[in-house]
Structure formats: C-alpha cells, structure tokens
C-alpha cells in the first residue's frame, strides 16, 4: 500500500495560553486510502496529543467531524487524501467561535434548531389505537430533508449567516420545512412566526453554498426557496382573507 507524505497546516488555539489562533504544521505519512480524519488521528496518536477536535462514527452519519479543509467545509471522514494536494490546511468550521483548536462553539445553532419546533405538532388528537398513516408518496415529499446529520457545514458555507448571526440558517430552516411537509404534522402556523420573521427565510439570498457543501444532499437551499414561495403566497392569502393552510 503506497504512502504519501502530507503536510497538515492545522489551526491551534489554547484559550488559556493564546491571544489568537495560529497554525502548526505536522508531516503525516498517509496511506492512499485514508480520509483526512485518519491523518488528524495520526497526529493525535503519534505526534501531538494536545490537539483537540471532534469526531465519532467515521462514516458520515454522526455529523461530528466537520472542519474547513483547504477552505471548504467538509466532513473529514468523507474527504479522501487522494483528492487532496500535499499541503492541507485544516481549520475549525467557519462562522463559529473557536472553543479550542478545531472545536467550535455550536450553542447558537443548537438554540436555533430548538426554536423551529423540530417535532410532530398536533392540533387534533392523534389517531386512537392505530398508528399514523403515511403513504410512500407522502414520505417522499420530505424524506430528503430527514437526512440532515447536523454537521453544520451549511452554516460554515453560508455567507448570510457569516454576515448576520441572527439568521436562522440553512439546517434549522430545512428542518422546519421537513416537519411542515410531513402529513402527520399540524404545526405549520406555529412555526410561521420564526420562519416568516425577517431573520427567517427572508435573510437568505439563495447563494446556494449550503446545498453544495451538504455531505448528505439535504438541499437546504431548495427547502428555503420553497418556504419563501409559500410565505409570499400565504401573505396575500392572509391579506385577502382566503383560508390558508391551517395545519
């Protein structure tokens, strides 16, 4: 198995010692089938045990290992070294405060995910003694949006979030849309306050970077545009007194 010497330029930041983040370079012998997370693990195991970073499943389902690799927000367990040049710059996810080294503070998005009420909201009683019925067609309406693993690469890519931290952001909005499209849910009007606010869907200018970087192909940009269309139509329905979507 061939090995390749990669030069990792890693951003370091120790809140107790450093004024500001700085780069530290490590030379790592990589197997050709490695992902960049393997190289980072090699650094931690063999070169510098003080390096702090998040990772878990190593198979693109947990969403923990998001980082900037050569300026792109990616899952490090999904980025193969064979697709990278010899010099690799690794930084914590853009647009988030740095806790330490490659670990970012995710409190803001955690709070936003919570804000959109990401669960089935019922106004009627749930069906008695039977399960909710959902056809495959009804499921396919929103299935793509369920694939989000909360890796927050979309927030790192979104320039509107970078410009305005009050923007609800791609993942939270896509999650809201996932529930709005679910036929079991009746909470659309509850979520409207957040979504229709000017820091909700309207702050998005359809750059589309979020969908391009999403490792699970959730396509949050599409979800947001659909909510804008919906919001624009609902606005006039409300003004004209046409009964809107009460669910």
């Amino acid at each position: 198995m061939g090995t390749r010497q990669l030069e990792l330029e890693v951003m370091r930041y120790d809140p107790e010692k450093d004024e500001a983040p700085h780069f530290q370079t490590y030379s790592v012998p990589c197997n050709e089938d490695w992902v960049i997370l393997d190289a980072i693990n090699y650094v931690k195991d063999n070169i510098d045990t003080t390096l702090a970073y998040r990772w878990s499943c190593h198979m693109m389902v947990c969403g923990s290992c998001g980082m900037m690799v050569n300026g792109e927000p990616v899952l490090t367990c999904k980025t193969f070294v064979r697709d990278l040049p010899d010099k690799v710059r690794i930084e914590p996810l853009e647009n988030f405060p740095i806790e330490r080294d490659l670990v970012v503070v995710l409190d803001d998005v955690m709070q936003k995910l919570h804000q959109v009420q990401p669960y089935i909201v019922r106004k009627d009683e749930p069906p008695e003694d039977v399960e909710y019925k959902q056809t495959r067609g009804q499921l396919m309406k929103f299935k793509q949006l369920t694939m989000c693993i909360n890796c927050m690469c979309c927030y790192a890519a979104c320039p509107q979030y970078g410009l305005n931290k009050d923007f609800i952001g791609p993942a939270a909005l896509a999650l809201a849309h996932r529930y709005n499209l679910d036929n079991r849910d009746q909470g659309k009007s509850d979520r409207l306050d957040i979504l229709a606010d000017h820091d909700g869907v309207w702050e998005c200018s359809f750059v589309g970077a979020c969908s391009e970087v999403c490792p699970k192909h959730v396509d949050p940009a599409a979800a947001i545009q659909q909510m804008k269309v919906d919001g624009a139509v609902e606005f006039w329905k409300q003004r004209l007194g046409i009964p809107g979507d009460k669910s």
Binding site: E94, G137, M140, P159, A221, A222
Partner: protein, 132 residues
C-alpha cells in the same frame, strides 16, 4: 479551565472574493444593474414615442447605433444569459418541486421546460418586432 471562545471576524466587504462559488454569486446578483439599465432605457424610448414625432423616434434609433452600442449590447446579452437566465432556469426546480405519485419530477425535465418556454417567448417577441 476557563473558556475564552475566539471569534474570527469575516470581512463584510470582501468575503465574496474568498472562493469561486461566492464570486459567481456576486456576478449573478450584479446582473440586476443591467435589468435596471434596460428598464430605464426602455422608459426613455417610451418618452420619445410619447412625443409623437417620427423624426424624434428616428433620431433616437440613430443614437442607438454604432460600434460602441454593438459591443455593449452584445456583452450585456452574453452576461445576462450566462449570469441570470441560465442560472435562473437551473435553480427553478428547487423552488418548484413537482411530485407525481411517489416520485419527484426530474430536475432536468423542469429545466428543459423552461428552455422550451424561453425559445417560444423569444420567437414571439421577434415575431412581434418583425424580425421573423
């Protein structure tokens, strides 16, 4: 262990130079200047028409001729096609997903339909103008 999160400031004025994706986005948005330009150019043409004189209209048409105009309108046409019309068509399926039964209609079908409509609309405008 004390926490002191470090906030990296993003330049509010030059962030779009950071990568190709952002640069293309800004060029796309700047096509709005062209739209505004042509709107006011057409309004100006209407004001000449409203004066009701064929002489004034012909003089307006004459003022629109020349190499400079050819270059400008030619470049504007290319810019608008590649930074507005074609990107808009490509993004249309995202804003208007159509589901038939269990499956989404393929993006390519929706984009194809847009091109078809565009060709028809262009043909109609050219026919109205007496070009074809």
């Amino acid at each position: 262990m004390s926490r002191r999160p470090y906030v990296r400031e993003m330049s509010k004025t030059t962030w779009y130079m950071r990568n190709g994706r952002y640069r293309v986005y800004v060029l796309r948005e700047l096509s709005s200047f062209l739209v505004a330009f042509y709107v006011f150019l057409i309004i100006y043409a209407l004001s000449v028409l409203a004066a009701g004189s064929a002489v004034q209209w012909n003089s307006f048409l004459a003022s629109q001729q020349g190499v400079g105009m050819i270059v400008f309108h030619g470049l504007a046409l290319l810019y608008f096609l590649f930074y507005q019309t074609f990107p808009w068509f490509k993004l249309a399926p995202k804003a208007m997903p159509i589901q038939v039964g269990e499956n989404k209609v393929a993006d390519s079908k929706i984009i194809g339909a847009h091109y078809l409509v565009w060709i028809v609309v262009t043909a109609v405008i050219f026919w109205l103008a007496g070009v074809i």
